[in-house]
């Protein structure tokens, strides 16, 4: 379980997150919606120790995450999957995946996780020795998710998994996320794509201008007029 309370994040002169509090229950899928540039990615990065400067509290079970370096947080089982993928472009798929298991926590399970990941994404198994930079957008996205899974995490923070994908690939990615969740993974996901994502979510937050403006179940979200207005233009 992750419990965020009173989180503030700064980027240069900008105050990006203002007093954000939220909870992600174990084995849940929490979706954070919000317009671009309102702090969604920063929220995920703050949890994973990748933000520039933060104040407040982030508790993973009983461990305080604020102030820890990203490598310690990965070792605690919290992994970030970037919207921009952040792969290692001149390495092969296999090397990228092996580096996904770089943290001490994942090393003993490297072979096991590799098998699991190839089951989940058979296409990656076919392209094991292909260089990452030559992959298509959809495959690269899968590789990014697969690399995240290699870290043997309990908690995944996934940043806009559907961004820039064709509809059929998007469905594939969502199904994968669903499968991962069913296997016991806790997921915090950031998205703009509300109708699809609502099927996955156990809980929804809306982040606008760095503040949480809505919190509730997916039914609450769908029936909320304000949300309809901003996300669907109705």
């Amino acid at each position: 379980m992750i419990k965020v309370s009173g989180l503030n994040a700064f980027y240069g002169q900008f105050h990006v997150l203002k007093d954000v509090s939220m909870t992600v229950e174990k084995n849940g899928v929490v979706v954070v919606l919000g317009p671009n540039g309102h702090g969604k990615s920063t929220l995920l990065k703050s949890i994973c120790g990748l933000a520039e400067r933060i104040t407040g509290n982030i508790l993973l079970n009983d461990t305080e995450l604020t102030g820890l370096s990203s490598e310690k947080i990965v070792d605690l089982g919290v992994t970030y999957i970037a919207e921009t993928r952040e792969l290692f472009p001149n390495m092969t798929v296999l090397e990228n995946l092996k580096l996904g298991a770089y943290c001490r926590r994942a090393r003993p399970f490297e072979a096991e996780n590799l098998e699991k990941v190839f089951d989940l994404f058979p296409r990656l198994a076919d392209r094991k020795s292909q260089t990452a930079s030559t992959m298509s957008g959809g495959e690269a996205k899968m590789l990014a998710i697969a690399r995240g899974l290699m870290s043997n995490a309990d908690f995944l923070a996934i940043d806009e998994p559907s961004l820039g994908l064709q509809p059929n690939l998007r469905t594939e990615v969502f199904n994968t996320i669903k499968t991962i969740n069913e296997q016991g993974m806790t997921i915090l996901l950031v998205e703009q794509n509300i109708p699809r994502i609502a099927e996955l979510a156990s809980h929804i937050y809306v982040l606008e201008e760095g503040k949480i403006t809505f919190e509730g179940s997916k039914d609450d979200a769908v029936s909320n007029d304000h949300l309809k207005e901003i996300f669907l233009g109705m």
């Binding site: 990203s70 490598e71 990965v74 970037a82 390495m91 770089y102 995240g148 870290s151």
Partner: protein, 300 residues
């Protein structure tokens, strides 16, 4: 068939080629160390050449200063290389890492390392005097193949530097730390995401490059003198080779090192040694104008 003069010139040329090869192999070591540190940490180290001399002086202290007998050069390597590693690691951790927070840190690192270069070269001058020092050859004797004479020293220098490069290349591709170093070079943000401690990789990379150039210093100082003020020229040489070979390309650096080793030997033979730096500079300008990404570089 040939008159005596032609034969003499032929021997001279083979000597120059051998010198070019053994110097070139050390240059390759230096260039790869530089490509590595710039490719991974993006810090430009102006004191690079002074670490070359540091290797030479450390070895000189052990062999000539203390008169170490036991184990010869093996002991020297076992003592000096870890020492150089520590120096490089400390430098990155305590001096360069704090600067990274500033937006113009790259320029400040250049200034800092330039200051360090001045400090070190003048320190060498104070400690060892301006008289040039030299190291005994790692292996004495010569090898004759037909009419051509190789000194064992040249052969050892060639073998050891190439061995060092191969070992380094193997580690980069096959060890966990080597993979992490490549990962940081390709995508530091991605490296952080997978849980690589990039500060430690920066420091290790800096340390490894210091070891490589210092190792080169120990090897080459057996043939040439250790000159306290030569650091700048050595740094420039390593950098020209790196730029010529292509930034970030280890293979390019390897080829470039041998080409430049040869070029230098021939320019020195034809025009005199003081023109080698001018030749290097002309080559650098030509590279930057004609093919800025270097021989094997991938471009911007």
């Amino acid at each position: 068939m040939f008159d005596e003069n032609t034969i003499l010139v032929f021997y001279e040329i083979t000597d120059i080629i051998i010198a070019g090869l053994s110097n070139g192999s050390v240059y390759a070591l230096m260039a790869i160390g530089m490509t590595l540190v710039y490719g991974v940490t993006k810090a430009f180290n102006f004191a690079y050449g002074d670490f070359f001399n540091m290797g030479g002086y450390f070895a000189w202290i052990l062999i000539v200063g203390i008169g170490l007998e036991f184990g010869g050069y093996i002991t020297v390597f076992l003592i000096v290389l870890p020492l150089l590693f520590a120096v490089g690691y400390g430098l990155e951790t305590f001096m360069i890492a704090p600067l990274r927070k500033r937006p113009d840190w790259e320029n400040r690192v250049m200034m800092l390392t330039l200051g360090l270069a001045l400090f070190l070269s003048n320190l060498y001058m104070v400690l060892f005097g301006s008289r040039l020092k030299s190291l005994p050859p790692i292996l004495e004797g010569i090898l004759e193949i037909g009419q051509i004479v190789f000194s064992y020293q040249d052969i050892m220098i060639f073998v050891m530097s190439l061995g060092g490069i191969l070992l380094f290349g193997w580690m980069l591709n096959n060890t966990r730390t080597g993979m992490a170093v490549r990962a940081v070079a390709q995508n530091p943000e991605g490296a952080k995401i997978v849980g690589i401690n990039i500060k430690r990789i920066f420091a290790s990379t800096f340390a490894i490059s210091t070891v490589m150039v210092g190792f080169g210093g120990i090897l080459l100082s057996q043939k040439m003198f250790i000159n306290p003020t030569s650091g700048g020229a050595i740094m420039i040489k390593a950098w020209v080779i790196t730029a010529f070979g292509g930034m970030g390309s280890i293979r390019g650096g390897l080829y470039a090192a041998f080409i430049i080793g040869m070029m230098e030997a021939f320019v020195g033979w034809i025009f005199g040694m003081s023109y080698t730096i001018i030749a290097l500079f002309v080559l650098l300008l030509a590279t930057l104008i004609i093919r800025p990404q270097g021989l094997m570089g991938k471009g911007a």
